[in-house]
């Protein structure tokens, strides 16, 4: 078998086991109270850690310039999400600002 297939199947199994881990375990095991409280922060902590590099590190290089389209679009989307709690409106405003800035400040 080629290395590609070994890597794919190996990572497939590891990824499934990671996803299955606590869902499988928790039937028998009751998490301590502090862990239960910690779990409340999983969505905000992990998803924010996914979002932020998408805004400030396009192509893996830190870009905090105010006209970085992703940063500005992301900040405005945050404002819209906070004020309206509307998913579709947040995406629409974010993409509109993103495209507008790409058009005004073409990359490169």
């Amino acid at each position: 078998m080629s290395t590609v297939w070994l890597a794919m199947i190996g990572l497939g199994i590891l990824t499934f086991l990671t996803r299955f881990s606590f869902i499988a375990l928790l039937e028998r095991w009751q998490a301590p109270e502090i862990v239960q409280r910690a779990l409340r922060f999983v969505p905000v902590a992990v998803l924010t850690a996914i979002i932020v590099p998408e805004l400030v590190q396009p192509n893996d290089v830190l870009d905090l310039r105010p006209y970085n389209p992703r940063l500005l679009a992301g900040l405005l989307a945050t404002l819209v999400a906070w004020k309206t709690k509307n998913v579709i409106l947040t995406i629409l405003v974010g993409m509109a600002v993103f495209w507008l800035l790409l058009w005004v400040f073409p990359p490169g």
Binding site: L11, I23, L26, V46
Partner: protein
């Protein structure tokens, strides 16, 4: 069929449909991402068959793109597995956070929903589970959201493989993915501890982005969680 069986079936279908509808906006960002993966897999020298297979065997976008880059760079198998594994470890946190809601499901439900537990499914599913419990069979919502993303991911991989460079990737549609995560996370920031957890994770992920083996995301998530716990006590 008696009344009870009927109403159980109806509420299951309602939840399934709710999950499908909630996941649809995510596809705007996930489909271009899937095509980018398909195109990059071919350009790394993978066959169309193995490129397509990876989308259902691994079923994790960022890990697939990373694996393709490592295949192209001829990395040793152990390094590929270790790096992909660390990148995907955040799913253990998702697993822990959803586990209390899935305790009563049978093994098959747990296996299938675990397989479908991606970032994109988790973001909408945890938002649904965080609503007050109305007794609805919410695992059907999870199934609807998960299957919608899975189907979109397979089709968009195929589109990337077979249509390839004919599709303009310069539109940047995949940027809608972080925007959707913003739309789901921001309303969940209901107290000071949550806001501080998010801020800490966001600052930390940039500060540690130089860490090898994609450890940064995981470190940032842990720092965010610890800051959240700590500020709860203040």
């Amino acid at each position: 069929m008696d009344e009870t069986a009927n109403s159980i079936r109806n509420s299951s279908l309602q939840e399934l449909w709710g999950g499908i509808k909630a996941e649809l906006p995510i596809l705007v960002g996930a489909l271009p991402f899937g095509m980018i993966y398909g195109i990059s897999a071919l350009s790394a020298g993978m066959t169309p068959g193995s490129a397509q297979a990876m989308s259902s065997v691994v079923f994790a976008g960022s890990a697939q793109v990373l694996l393709v880059q490592m295949v192209k760079a001829n990395m040793p198998l152990a390094v590929m597995l270790a790096t992909g594994f660390v990148l995907n470890l955040r799913h253990a946190l998702y697993s822990a956070s959803l586990a209390p809601y899935m305790r009563k499901l049978n093994l098959w439900w747990k296996v299938i929903l675990s397989y479908l537990l991606t970032d994109e499914a988790y973001a909408v599913v945890i938002t649904h589970y965080n609503q007050p419990d109305d007794g609805a069979p919410r695992h059907w919502y999870f199934l609807g959201a998960g299957l919608t993303l899975w189907t979109g991911w397979q089709l968009s991989t195929a589109a990337g493989i077979f249509l390839g460079a004919q599709i303009p990737s310069s539109w940047g549609l995949e940027f809608s993915l972080p925007l959707i995560f913003i739309a789901l996370v921001v309303p969940a920031l209901k107290d000071r501890a949550g806001v501080l957890a998010a801020l800490a994770a966001g600052l930390c992920v940039v500060a540690v982005s130089g860490l090898p083996y994609k450890l940064g995301l995981l470190v940032a998530a842990f720092v965010g969680i610890v800051v959240g716990l700590w500020s709860e006590k203040q």
